[in-house]
């Protein structure tokens, strides 16, 4: 479970400060598929960065499964993120000079998983997203939808409980976007928590819950 209590994020120094988040409180349950929506500059990506441990909050508390992540040191926070949180990006963030297989096994290599185990997990993950026959292909040989599936397979392969998706359908057409949302829904049904930032209201409706953020605050 993710618990966010009155988090504030300020950018800049004392002379020129920007409040990206102005006191957000939020609880996300395990296995939930949550969509975060809001206009540009509302603080959605900042919130995602904080949940994903890519950024630190200025004030407040951020707790994940009894661990007070906001009070961890930098290195411990990185370690926590590695073992609990995976990302799916808008532009897929695949390494174009590595095959789909090599892209999916990246988080496993980072975790130090053995070769044989890696192979098993990678192929299983690719199979779940329907991309097992494309494991030798390079990203530039795949369509946008296929690349995003590979990216999701990578997030799955890491085995992490929380999957953060930053505009996962932003670079895709409607049909492919729907396919991706369905994949994310299936992942959530298996017990993982999926948090998705999106501009697309039509797709956001498929989430279990939609959270609207505006001007650094949750719009109730």
């Amino acid at each position: 479970m993710i618990r966010i209590k009155d988090i504030v994020k300020i950018y800049g120094d004392k002379e020129c400060q920007t409040y990206a988040l102005k006191g957000i409180s939020l609880d996300i349950n395990d296995g939930e598929f949550v969509a975060i929506m809001g206009p540009s500059g509302s603080g959605k990506s900042t919130l995602l960065n904080i949940i994903g441990c890519m950024d630190v909050l200025t004030e407040g508390e951020f707790i994940v499964d009894e661990t007070i992540v906001s009070s961890l040191t930098n290195s411990k926070r990185q370690e926590f993120a590695k073992n609990n949180i995976s990302f799916v990006f808008q532009d897929f963030a695949l390494m174009n000079d590595y095959t789909s297989y090599e892209n999916v096994e990246l988080p496993l290599r980072i975790k130090g998983v053995s070769g044989r185990e890696r192979k098993k997990i990678v192929l299983e993950s690719l199979d779940k997203v329907g991309m097992s026959e494309f494991y030798k292909k390079y990203p530039n040989k795949l369509s946008g939808g296929q690349q995003q599936r590979v990216a999701i397979a990578r997030a799955l392969a890491s085995g992490n409980k929380y999957i953060l998706a930053d505009e996962p359908t932003g670079a895709l057409d409607r049909e492919n976007g729907m396919e991706i949302i369905n994949v994310l829904k299936d992942i959530a049904k298996e017990g993982r928590t999926v948090i998705m930032v999106t501009h697309n209201e039509e797709l956001a409706k498929f989430a279990d819950r939609i959270i609207y953020i505006e001007d650094g605050l949750i719009n109730q």
Partner: protein
């Protein structure tokens, strides 16, 4: 190959340019190591060989020295061409007196040096001269181009002095001994020597071909000596540049060329490494987003960088080999794998490591999500 270049350098053209750039850098470094080693080797010995010609002649133990006149030898062995009978005979006698006798064999040895006006790779040196006749020399056939004819006599200028030529020693000699060994070293190319040798002997004689390399004289000396040893023969005398000339060339190398090579190499490596790291920032951001620490990313990059470096070192060494082959016409390469080489190459790798750590600041600053979105 294309995939490999893209994998390590992110695009093919960059990969080719960076590999060539690094290879040229390592060619310069390897060449510097080679020159350092050559100079170190040469400075250790007071005398060394620049170029030599060796022939053997088997004599009876009872043969009188003075019977071995130039004329007789020339009739017997077609070794020499007499230009001045009077001075030539005396020249040979002087050489015979100075040479050592071992097991019934007189080794006629001398060091040939070439003038730079011949447009060959030459340095100044000593010529065999007759004690009883001043100003006369024996020259090799290869030096004929540098001679001048005045009043039916031939002259050559060496080391600033003019000498009359008393005889010409053929570049090819045909031995009369049971040991059918012919060695010739000179400024002729391998093809020319083979052609002349075939004409003279009809391929009946066993040969050892040795190239001359005035930039690598010690190796030439050692190599010829090794080959002669197999036939029970040995080089016993040599001569060459004076120590002061060696010191001068060493000073020149150290003061002028070395710093330029090192500066160029360092700058090149610095720039190439920087470009290489920056081209991989997106990959680093992706790795970071999946929990890779700065140390893990740097280790991964360093491993990949060293793969590229090793490929470049090999290409640089190949370029050096081809370069030496073309410029010095040498037929063999001594691999200078010694303490100096190991220290220099380790130093280069260490410098690359430091440069990569310097550029690691870009990796540290990279915020994964922002960086991935921008790239």
């Amino acid at each position: 190959m294309k995939k490999m270049l893209k994998r390590y350098y992110r695009d093919v053209l960059t990969g080719v340019l960076m590999t060539l750039s690094l290879s040229f850098t390592f060619f310069l470094i390897l060449n510097s190591i080679r020159i350092i080693n050559l100079i170190n080797d040469e400075v250790k010995v007071d005398e060394y060989v620049k170029c030599m010609y060796v022939s053997t002649e088997l004599l009876d133990a009872e043969t009188e020295q003075d019977e071995k006149t130039f004329e007789e030898l020339s009739r017997k062995a077609d070794l020499f061409e007499i230009l001045n009978e009077e001075t030539c005979n005396v020249s040979l006698y002087s050489i015979a007196l100075n040479s050592k006798v071992r097991e019934g064999t007189i080794r006629v040895q001398y060091v040939v040096s070439y003038n730079e006006s011949l447009d060959r790779k030459v340095v100044s040196g000593e010529m065999p001269k007759a004690d009883f006749t001043n100003g006369c020399v024996l020259i090799t056939e290869s030096m004929l181009d540098a001679t001048e004819s005045i009043n039916d006599k031939k002259y050559i200028e060496l080391n600033g002095d003019v000498y009359e030529i008393s005889g010409i020693i053929r570049d090819v000699s045909v031995g009369q001994s049971e040991r059918e060994v012919i060695i010739f070293a000179g400024a002729m190319s391998k093809e020319q020597k083979t052609k002349v040798f075939s004409e003279k002997t009809g391929n009946k004689w066993k040969t050892i071909h040795i190239g001359s390399n005035v930039n690598n004289p010690l190796n030439v000396y050692k190599s010829i000596n090794d080959k002669l040893n197999k036939y029970g023969m040995q080089l016993t005398s040599h001569g060459g540049l004076s120590h002061s000339q060696l010191e001068e060339s060493t000073r020149y190398m150290n003061s002028v060329l070395q710093p330029i090579m090192i500066f160029f190499s360092f700058t090149n490596v610095f720039v190439v490494t920087g470009i290489w790291v920056k081209k991989r920032l997106r990959e680093c951001a992706i790795r970071k987003s999946f929990g890779a620490t700065y140390d893990m990313i740097m280790v991964h990059l360093i491993k990949e960088m060293f793969k590229c470096v090793i490929v470049s070192v090999v290409i640089g060494a190949i370029i050096q080999f081809v370069y030496l082959r073309i410029t010095d016409n040498i037929f063999y390469i001594k691999l200078y794998i010694n303490k100096t080489s190991a220290i220099v190459m380790a130093g280069v790798f260490f410098i690359i490591l430091i440069i990569m750590c310097y550029y690691g600041k870009y990796i540290k600053k990279t915020e994964p999500i922002t960086a991935i979105k921008r790239m």
